[in-house]
């Protein structure tokens, strides 16, 4: 399937997997981040159960320096 992550398309071999799996595949485990899927926030507590489908648009954000 293909996901749009932070505005860029990314193709995966599997047909569907969880947000938790995506976090692991992207080597973001243990990082403090927030994820939005198709405009809806996915709470961290739902990372394991929330399944991603082909075409889903994801925003993965973190805190950076700012004023």
């Amino acid at each position: 399937m293909q996901l749009i992550i932070n505005g860029k398309p990314k193709t995966f071999d599997l047909a569907s997997f969880s947000v938790a799996h995506l976090v692991s595949v992207l080597a973001l485990e243990g990082k403090r981040l927030a994820i939005e899927c198709n405009g809806e926030i996915v709470p961290r507590s739902q990372f394991a159960e929330k399944r991603l489908m082909d075409g889903d648009k994801l925003e993965v954000v973190g805190a950076v320096g700012g004023g």
Partner: protein
């Protein structure tokens, strides 16, 4: 002296709030913030780098959320919807954290706030349970409206973000302060220590700055200067300055007992 800053029911020793942007590296960010004594630090919310530099340190490694009160901002947002979306993500990112800095910009050249969009966002955020510290123009009517909406602090600009031009309209700031029942903090435009001291002497509850420290030749030393300026300005405000006498001098030494 027990003179604490109270924002949304929580008290702070320091009245200096600082940003975390524009530093050379995270080590310098940390050193400057330590020198500033700030307890509340602003952060921006941005897309995470995907697939690259996965192991590189992050801001949070140097400034653990357990040590500071994070103030996530909406810098770069030009609409109420974008600002609300950003802060909802920030709340999720920071485990339900409610204290936020709302700013909705109106123009990329001046970064002047769009107060119509800001007010719209403030209404949604307050209703959604956020404690909203709001960056705003120095218009006393707008500041009062933001208070009535339920914002926990108003933060009028001293001058444009990153300009270092200092306090351009102390008269408006004084009107805002006189009318406010919530803390008024100057946010943006402070250039050097005297600007911060003047803001506090006017009666501001605090000052928020980033570039004045980060863009100084020696940011850590400037952070220390700002800490002292905010403290000095606050004490001068509490002490109550002498009245200005425009047309007559008054000697400090006795007039009696002069050697003639």
């Amino acid at each position: 002296m027990s003179d604490l800053l109270n924002i949304a029911g929580k008290t702070y020793q320091s009245r200096l709030l600082v940003g975390t942007g524009k530093y050379q590296d995270f080590a310098q960010t940390r050193a400057a913030i330590d020198a500033s004594g700030a307890e509340i630090i602003t952060v921006a919310i941005r897309r995470t780098n995907i697939g690259q530099n996965a192991g590189e340190p992050s801001l949070l490694d140097f400034l653990p959320p357990e040590e500071f009160t994070y103030l996530p901002n909406t810098a770069g947002c030009y609409s109420a919807d974008d600002a609300v979306r950003t802060l909802r993500l920030a709340r999720e990112l920071l485990d339900g954290h409610k204290l936020v800095k709302l700013e909705v910009l109106g123009d990329p050249n001046t970064l002047y706030p769009n107060m119509i969009e800001t007010i719209a966002a403030a209404k949604v955020l307050v209703k959604d349970g956020f404690d909203v510290m709001v960056y705003c123009s120095d218009d006393p009517i707008i500041a009062k409206q933001l208070e009535e909406i339920g914002c926990c602090a108003v933060m009028p600009l001293a001058s444009l973000i990153g300009s270092g031009m200092g306090i351009l309209n102390p008269w408006n700031l004084q009107i805002i302060i006189a009318n406010a029942n919530i803390p008024v903090l100057v946010d943006a435009g402070v250039g050097t220590a005297s600007d911060a001291a003047i803001a506090m002497e006017l009666g501001c509850q605090g000052v928020l700055m980033n570039t004045a420290i980060a863009a100084a030749r020696d940011p850590v030393l400037m952070a220390s200067a700002m800490k002292k300026a905010v403290e000095a300005g606050r004490e001068a405000y509490l002490a109550g300055r002498m009245p200005k006498k425009l047309y007559s001098a008054s000697p400090s030494s006795p007039s009696a007992g002069l050697i003639t």
